[in-house]
């Protein structure tokens, strides 16, 4: 049963991802990427990561992708023309497919098997909000603070960049 769920979500994610990079209408691209994220949220649920799954839907699909959609509609983009370098597309696809080979061999190599056979069956409470909150405010306090500063910088940077008028000569 679990395997069927995995295959379903994996197929949806892969097919949506591939359609996203061949779809020429930018709005459909955003919707397909949201499909990928929702199926990934399903996979996160299967991996005992309830909180991350909710964050994936609320923050990623709900906020970040809507930002993309907003900008696409703001710029009123037409359908995309393909690039001027015709050779680039087949070469890119072939090189990416070739990169899959070493990655998969690495996952099936002996050292990876040794590292991944130490299964911790005790997944009780894993991924619950209580555990994640405790980690965020003790062990990972400094990274969380730094992430907050990073978000502040991003907000200020976005506002400064898109402001009308010159930036440097103003007093």
């Amino acid at each position: 049963m679990e395997l069927y769920f995995f295959l379903f979500f994996a197929t949806v994610a892969t097919v949506s991802g591939v359609s996203m990079i061949i779809q020429r209408n930018p709005v459909y691209c955003v919707l397909l990427l949201i499909m990928v994220m929702i199926s990934l949220a399903g996979l996160f649920l299967m991996l005992n990561a309830q909180f991350v799954a909710i964050i994936q839907i609320v923050v990623y699909a709900g906020a970040i992708m809507v930002l993309f959609l907003f900008v696409i509609m703001l710029l009123n983009l037409s359908r995309e023309e393909w690039g001027t370098f015709r050779i680039q597309r087949p070469v890119a696809v072939i090189l990416s497919a070739a990169l899959l080979v070493p990655l998969v061999t690495m996952f099936f190599s002996k050292s990876t098997k040794d590292a991944t056979t130490t299964i911790n069956e005790n997944t009780l409470g894993l991924g619950e909000v209580e555990q994640i909150g405790a980690l965020l405010f003790t062990k990972y306090l400094l990274p969380v603070e730094l992430a907050a500063v990073l978000l502040l910088i991003a907000i200020v940077g976005a506002v400064v960049l898109t402001r009308h008028g010159t930036i440097i000569t103003e007093d």
Binding site: E2, F6, A10, T14, G17, M20, I21, P26, C29, L33, V36, L40, L43, F44, M46, N48, A49, F51, V52, I55, V59, Y60, A63, I64, F68, V71, L74, L75, L77, E80, E81, G83, F85, R89, A92, V93, S96, L100, L103, V104, T116, T118, I119, N120, E121, T123, L126, G127, I132, L136, Y140, P143, A147, L150, L151, I153, A154, A158, L161, T162
Partner: protein, 100 residues
């Protein structure tokens, strides 16, 4: 329980779809979206390993990766809007002032 290799292979496939998209698309916004797809592929392997080792540290890293993705999307889209305002296009082949 599904072996962790399945999740890792799926995450590699998603990452490579993102890489391919960055290489073949010419629309700057869609290039940014493909970067988000690559980040999602990496997040999947973090969560898979968190389940494997029964520790929630991987979830924290996913949390921080989503934060970074949000910051990157905000700055990237601001740059795309600036680009459109100055050049009238978001096609990255036509933005070549720094290319000789």
């Amino acid at each position: 329980m599904i072996p962790i290799s399945y999740y890792l292979i799926l995450s590699a496939i998603l990452f490579l779809i993102g890489v391919t998209g960055v290489l073949i698309r010419r629309n700057a916004i869609i290039v940014l979206m493909c970067i988000e797809l690559m980040l999602n592929g990496a997040n999947l392997s973090f969560v898979a390993f968190a389940k494997q080792y029964g520790s929630a540290d991987g979830h924290i890293y996913v949390f921080l990766a989503i934060t970074i993705a949000a910051a990157e999307a905000a700055i990237g889209l601001a740059l795309v809007i600036l680009l459109f305002r100055n050049k009238g296009t978001v096609n990255i082949d036509e933005v070549k002032s720094l290319r000789w």
